[in-house]
Amino acid sequence: MKKRKSPSITKRESKTLYLTTEEEKILNRESGEAAATAMRLLVTMGEIFDADRLIPIISAQISGISYKTIGDAGLEFIQDFSRLGAKTSVYASMNPAGMDLDHWKEIGIPEDFAINQKKIISALNEIGVKSTCTCTPYLLERIPNYGDHLAWAESSAVIYANSVLGAMTNREGGPIALASAIIGKTPLYGFHIKNNRRPTLSIDVQCELKNELDFSLLGFYIGKKASEEIPFINLPTNLINNTCLKALGAAMATSGGQAIYHIKDITPESKDFKEDKLKEKITVERYELNKTKESLSQELDPDIVFIGCPHCNIEEIEEISKISRETRLVRKLYVCTSRHVWKTANSKGYIDEIEKAGGRVVKDTCMVVTPLERMGISRVLTNSSKAANYLPTLCKSKVYLRDLKGCMKYAIDGN
């Protein structure tokens, strides 16, 4: 071990990362092996990104939950970490699992998969991570406030928290977010610093965006066209609600590296920055959205309709239930949401309406992290360009894109 001086703050080698005495003690295993590993992870990130200190966070969102994604390697790490006594020190929620934790048999999940999935969840529960199993932690009871520092993994949640809520988080990976949940801190760099949240590119949208799919396509186009930029978007539309913003950001963070966007007069930080200072401007018309759609979607005869990437909010479930009411679906319909939103929807009777029509509301999971290829599903109709991007590679499925109403029409009349 290196000798360190012990004033209240110690400088580490030639770096600029300062740790408090308390943090140094954790790093030197005085709070156990698990906390030391977590601290080592955060210190390493801090050094890579030239952070000068660690700052407290309000919450952490952990990704890498599905057994399909992390496999035996991830399972073993989480189990070992739990055995070594890792405990969260702030509120920590988790991404979707590979199945509905209560009703996995009914949706055709293989038993060996279910067993391993449950091991991951229980090890995380031991550590203190709540079984929220959603990619939309901003729809849970604890909604972050403007200016709150977070350590969130899950790119669609990160971009929503930064852009729509004005909270501050980097795009964390699964293990780092878990380390932050344990220590309750994150290194101060990137989007935790106001100046790094400044827009760098102006996007002028010249066509009307009619539905959530249009927002999703716009997001995908921006991410692909300008992966490293922070967009400042001008939108000529009255249709801006949280569902559309959720779709926009999820798609942008899928095709691009974005962790934040601003929309003029809409998102909370847009007023802090002047767009006329931006060097470059991109104009988006209907043509660009159509081209984006063509690149992700092909006309085919889907064997399932999937809505809920990111997880449906209560408004979407309400709309699906209204369309389903007193109909008989002729195609399979999977609606994915969090168990939190599911409870509210159930108490309002929405789940009953959808399931009476023959649809299924699945919680805790989403198609992308489910072993679809082992369930005989290969052609999917969805309204999410994020799902359309991942389904072909992760699930070997072909994808057809329509807006929510178009998806529901297909579920009802097969056309």
Partner: protein
């Protein structure tokens, strides 16, 4: 005759001392799907190290790529006894850094020279990331 020992400074990230034969590539490595944690073999199709075994080697590559879940692959390699002895990157990123942190693999980057150009497969390399330096011997020919 003993070959010349060269000492180079860098940025030590995961501290420790490691030594072994160099395995060098100019291509980024994806640990999730690109490396088999059971054997230590690089299995990414078309990678210039495809079929090479990284176990116990000083692995030298620019940086990681792909899923952040790749960190867990390095951890699995540590448990299976197939992990590389040490890693040298041009400029490392969170996937490799987190992986080395949980797998306890000494990691150093930002060297004063380009390790990919200056170090060859089979050269004997010592990483002392605690002191922020590496030493290497050119293989005798």
């Amino acid at each position: 005759m003993r070959s010349m020992e060269i000492e180079i400074k860098g940025r030590g990230l995961i501290h420790g001392i490691a030594e072994g034969e160099a395995l060098v590539t100019s291509q980024p490595i994806s640990f999730l799907g690109g490396v088999d944690p059971k054997t230590g073999l690089i299995i990414e199709k078309g990678h210039e190290l495809e079929g090479s075994n990284i176990s116990k080697k000083i692995l030298i590559f620019p940086h990681g790529k792909g899923s952040t879940v790749g960190s867990y692959t390095l951890f699995a390699m540590a448990k299976n006894g197939t992990k590389p002895a040490g890693i040298i990157n041009h400029k490392t990123e969170p996937i490799i850094a987190a992986g080395c942190a949980i797998a306890k693999i000494p990691l150093i980057d930002n060297l004063e020279i380009d390790p990919i150009k200056q170090i060859d497969n089979g050269d004997f390399v010592i990483i002392n990331s605690s002191e922020g330096l590496i030493k290497f011997n050119k293989k005798e020919t």
